[in-house]
Symmetry: C2
Subunit: 404 residues, 2 copies
């Protein structure tokens, strides 16, 4: 079997941790598997390199910043390879370029366009472990790029797809994917399986274990992704196309995201092109807009409310105020201190009344719902931030997710 | 004019020093020159990476060590490029691979085989400074290599050759090449010019300013090398094919090297192949043998004495003892505490009596000569270490090198 294993920055943060990770890799090799390892930068290396860059140029150009931070992963990879060799396990390290990771040219947020895994396959044929620097690639012109958030996860799953690997193991500091954040809900259970689509929805509304990009590639190429702890041997959560039938009937997880703010544009003229005028500048500035609600107003004017990350509020408000002036809206109001509370599960596709149960449970607990947004397998409510933890616990119980 | 400027690890050791170096580069650009910059790793980065590697694997494999330490230079290069951009000077950084530096596959001591400077030339045509990571290259298979000692100097001079640059400036922490080490001889003078061959001889016997590899490439391709201080604007020493005629008449410099030891193989049978049996194992172990003297002995047996670096003595002794046993020599003796004292200059080619003046001056000062070795433009004497500094001062005076 070909197995891809990805170890994050915490797992390789010190020499001692690199030794521990290497022992784990060695054990997998000794089970007779061909192993490809993807590593992140050690601990806070990336942050330190960025701080150094900013001390030299407060706005470092993206191309040079990519050249700089890519060193983080090309430091870890040879250290792991030489550790394995010291244990008698043949291994070589490969940069993104050497591993054949070809990307688009958008520096700091490049997309993987193609992987030519010849060199990795040759390494495996030679009976060696390939230790690949994650998070990085090169353009067709050999320009060094980085993949942005979730970059190393994306490298791992994309390599698994290109190699037709039997499994892609993502080692992390949690035990797997849970029905809710175990720090908030004592009765939260680890899921043995979750579907790609469910994981994507969970990741979109606050579950930070695995980046949606990696999950999307997994879904597209049918790569089974095993999210598991780097601290012990226990199995984690398998992300797959279809979970066992019984699990498909249910709400599978509760997610929450606390640092949310909302912006309301009051008195928006009701004519075509207005929404574009407001949201296009936000998109251009890289600000993600989340839940959008448009109230039907009187006299050809409406109110438009949407949520953004708390950290984007200031920048977003400035852009929205400019747009509001242009389109002739009455005024712009904003408020922080809110949170997203979501239920996710393919179960709700065939089960009517899920939304009703959610709203009733929150109402009975005295939690006011400010806005609602839904997908086919997700319902998200915006609530006051100081009520969200209570809401998670209530919904976890309401949808029978508590440990039996 | 195309100018290549090389800045060593001390010159780029901190963010503040990178800013100073960048101002110097900017000034050269503003004079209308096309500038290619070669940088080393910041300060002690390389040593730190090697220590990290050794904490993980006490004998790190050379390929992985090259992958690791190459990051030192690819960290500096983008920092300098982004500093220049912050000053309004267009610049990009290039790795050894991107700069077209193709090397042999001998990891940790690769030789530059070829430079394809297309990307650098394109960068210069675009009106940008190319900031190249020194000390590194890639093989034809994209394996990352490093060049070993003097690597960044070698990169700089080789790039200057490939680009047909008008000058190659090596910025260092000394003012240039001196008639003797100014720390030992107060009256030492900075040479305005020195010939490649003289510089090679000086470097071989203790002058550490510039690595002989870089000088050899300079000589081969006729690249004028300007060794100068990174701390001030003053001119340094030009290394060229021919110095002004008057300087060609003289001894040009006195060099010394203190950490030398000698090994004597006593009672060597006088038959063919004996020297090879002793020196081949040393060569294979990477131990440089310096001055060799063979005394004519009685009864078909001779004594063979040679010098090695003090740091190689232990390893060398072990190998020589094994060889001595094989060839049936009587015994092996060794001693540390000696030093090399050399005079260098093309002047001695056409001037008889130079050697005699040297030996006489040392004898008059009570300095005993243990061994002698010569080239066409150099005479080296091995003397007691505690007499070498006095020897340097006496020879500096004897050959009229004292400041007038």
């Amino acid at each position: 079997m070909i197995i891809v294993q990805k170890y994050g920055g915490t797992s390789v943060g010190t020499a001692a941790r690199i030794r521990r990770v290497s022992r784990r890799i060695a054990a997998t090799v000794k089970q007779g598997h061909k192993v490809v390892v993807v590593v992140s930068a050690m601990g806070h290396t990336t942050d330190r390199l960025i701080a150094l860059a900013q001390s030299i140029n407060p706005e470092p150009p993206a191309r040079e910043l990519d050249m700089l931070v890519a060193n983080g992963e090309t430091i870890t990879a040879p250290l792991v390879a030489m550790c394995l060799q010291g244990m008698g396990i043949p291994a070589i390290s490969l940069s993104g370029l050497q591993a054949g990771v070809r990307t688009s040219a958008q520096h700091s947020r490049a997309r993987i366009e193609d992987i030519k895994p010849d060199r990795i396959l040759e390494t495996l044929r030679d009976g060696k472990v390939a230790v690949v620097a994650g998070f990085q690639g090169v353009t067709a012109d050999f320009e060094v790029t980085t993949l942005g958030r979730g970059g190393s996860d994306t490298t791992a799953v994309a390599l698994a797809a290109a190699l037709k690997a039997d499994s892609c193991e993502i080692y992390t500091d949690v035990d797997g994917i849970f029905t809710a954040d175990p720090r908030l809900v004592k009765t939260a259970r680890k899921l043995t399986h979750i579907q790609y689509d469910e994981m994507l929805e969970l990741a979109a509304v606050g579950a930070r274990v695995l980046h949606p990009r990696a999950v999307e590639i997994g879904e597209l190429y049918g790569v089974p992704i095993h999210v598991r702890s780097s601290f012990h041997e226990g199995v984690g959560t398998m992300i797959v196309a279809q979970v066992p039938m019984e699990d498909r009937q249910r709400v599978r997880g509760i997610a929450e995201e606390s640092n949310v703010a909302k912006i309301t544009v009051v008195g928006v003229p009701d004519r075509p092109g207005i929404a574009a005028a407001i949201f296009e500048p936000l998109g251009a500035a890289g600000i993600s807009v989340d839940v959008i609600v448009q109230n039907i107003g009187r006299s050809r004017r409406t109110d438009l409310t949407f949520s953004v990350a708390q950290s984007d509020l200031k920048a977003a408000e400035k852009l929205v105020k400019a747009a509001a002036k242009t389109i002739g809206a009455t005024r712009v109001a904003s408020a922080g201190g809110i949170a997203k509370l979501s239920i996710v599960g393919t179960g709700m596709l065939g089960t009517p009344g899920i939304a009703g149960r959610m709203f009733r449970a929150l109402a009975d607990a005295g939690i006011n719902i400010e806005m609602i947004s839904t997908s086919e397998i997700r319902i998200t409510c915006l609530v006051a931030r100081d009520q969200v933890e209570k809401g998670v616990r209530i919904l976890h119980k309401t949808f029978d997710l508590d440990l039996e």
